[in-house]
Amino acid sequence: MSKEEEILEKIKEKFGNKVKDMTIKRSRRIFAETDMKNLKEILRYAKDELGFDHISTITGRDLGEELELIYHIAYQNAIELSIKTKIPKENPRITTIVDLYPSAGIYEREVHDLLGVVFEGNPDLSPLLLPDNWPKGVYPLRKDVTLEEIRELIEKGGEKG
């Protein structure tokens, strides 16, 4: 059994159908999906029991009605495990993971800036990338925000309307 299959089996055994669509895309690349409420439990297990002690980043993606977050974690045989979860766009809130991965704080700040996800419990969600006068509620990586709108905002120096 390959290292990837071993990890896959262990996660399946521990979490059963809490983990969906777990696939080995190629060597050192595992993708999986879970509900928001199980995410932290799985990350904790992967970190403490399977040696995934490095978080590469968090990718945020606009799916239309929902936002998708992908937690890319790695190390121990350099396998990159990407765990996806969906949160409603109406109320995009999820618990922080800075207590598990202190370095995730800055990635949460980035996703907060660009997609408007609130990471509950993150002590510092101040702007990281966007200007201080960027209007509230405009999240540039959301699909409904067009390049023209962004251009216009920048020309007006961040003032909306």
């Binding site: 002690d53 980043t57 990718t59 945020g60 890319h72 800055i106 990635y107 800036d113 101040s126």
Partner: protein, 392 residues
């Protein structure tokens, strides 16, 4: 914070050198007790721009994410797109990618070594290193036609082949570089000017390096053997034997040592790549539209793990292209290194992670008791550091 702490604000404006960022240092006497970071002053929205451009246009955008490690970005990008397409680049192109990547690493590490020397007031070393860096810049120009944006990679392979004449010139240039790099490595370990400012400065323990997610030479200087080239091999790295350079000093000297030794290792890798390079095609043609898929691509940029997550949706434009640069990954570790250190050490510790958004230029000192604010330039902070050490 107690009333006796002073806020030192560094950045973000930069009239002349490097790039903008902002650090707010909470200080007590000569010690830094807390750090807050604000970046984004040069945020260009490239991820959003990519969603609105074709894969081929995205290639040229990715090259422009960084002016120092442009090749690392295109390598990471094209690998991701090739995976989405299910296309294998020809073997020869994978070796050419290694050659350019390692030439870029040498130029980047030498650039950094010069800056590190400048930050500690050792401008003689800075000038010698940057003189020698011109050799590798010339080699990059011979290989690619350009000094900065090499435009070597394309989706499905590389755009330019290497011939015997170019290979001969590379080998000749590498010999000189090797002699110089060995000389620097010897000197660094003996020269008091370097040792006095770097030993036990900017400590990042092994466990903290892992905890705070450090990458690249920063994590390797804390005794952690992590290198994407060896751990998650791409291009032709699995066909070339090489060593992952690790130092366990956990300080600024260890970071200098790792990068200096990596220059020599890169020279070795290029020689091996040129020796083992097979003949044949250098690129395959690819389709412009990509069916829905996702790929996660990683490379070892000069500053560490670089990551692209790309998702296709059936059109000729990506649905999403996420970029995580190594400098962002090293920010939490940098904050850890600064806390507990001297204000005078801030420039060299900052330089220690080889930040790609580079440096501070204005320093705002706020005395909380007097409610006064003074503006410092980076030069003033650098001079302050040098003076402070001279008086010690």
């Amino acid at each position: 914070m107690s009333g006796s702490t002073i806020k030192v604000i560094i950045g973000p404006q930069h009239p002349a050198l490097k790039e903008p960022e902002r650090f707010i240092l909470e200080t007590e006497g000569e010690y830094v007790v807390d750090v807050k970071v604000r970046i984004g002053y040069i945020h260009r929205g490239i991820e959003k721009a990519m969603e609105n451009r074709t894969y081929l246009q995205g290639l040229y955008l990715s090259e422009r994410v960084c002016g120092i490690c442009s090749d690392a970005h295109t390598t990471c990008y094209v690998q991701g797109v090739e995976e989405l397409l299910g296309v294998e680049p020809p073997p020869r192109s994978r070796f050419i990618r290694v050659v350019v990547a390692e030439l870029e690493r040498i130029h980047s590490h030498l650039l950094w070594l010069g800056i590190a020397a400048h930050e500690i007031g050792f401008d003689t070393l800075f000038m010698y290193v940057w003189r020698d860096r011109e050799i590798v810049m010339d080699l990059l120009e011979i290989v690619s036609g350009n000094r900065v944006h090499y435009a070597t990679n394309t989706i499905g392979g590389v755009r330019r082949d290497l011939n015997d004449e170019k290979i001969h010139k590379i080998l000749k240039g590498l010999k000189t570089l090797e002699d110089r790099a060995k000389e620097y490595l010897k000197m660094i370990q003996k020269e008091q000017t370097v040792l006095k400012r770097t030993v036990n400065v900017g400590i990042l323990s092994k466990s903290d390096a892992i905890k705070y997610g450090a990458v690249g030479p920063t994590v390797r200087a804390s005794g952690v053997k992590r290198d994407v080239r060896a751990d998650d091999p791409y291009a032709a790295y699995d066909e070339i034997p090489f060593n992952v350079i690790v130092e366990d000093g956990c300080d600024c000297l260890a970071r200098i040592m790792v990068r200096s030794r990596e220059v020599l290792e890169s020279i070795h890798i290029i020689r091996e790549a040129l020796k083992r390079m097979p003949g044949g095609e250098i690129r395959v043609r690819v389709k412009p539209r990509i069916p829905p898929a996702e790929a996660l691509s990683r490379v070892e940029a000069p500053r560490g793990e670089l990551l692209y997550y790309i998702r296709s949706n059936g059109t000729d434009k990506p649905e999403r292209c996420k970029i995580r640069t190594p400098t962002l990954a090293n920010i939490p570790s940098l904050c850890k290194m600064l806390v507990g250190g001297y204000i005078a050490d801030v420039p060299i510790v900052l330089a220690g992670i080889d930040p790609c958004f580079a440096c501070m230029d204005r320093v705002l000192v706020i005395d909380r008791e007097k409610r006064e604010a003074k503006v410092w330039t980076l030069d003033m902070l650098r001079r302050y550091g040098r003076e402070w050490y001279r008086k010690r």
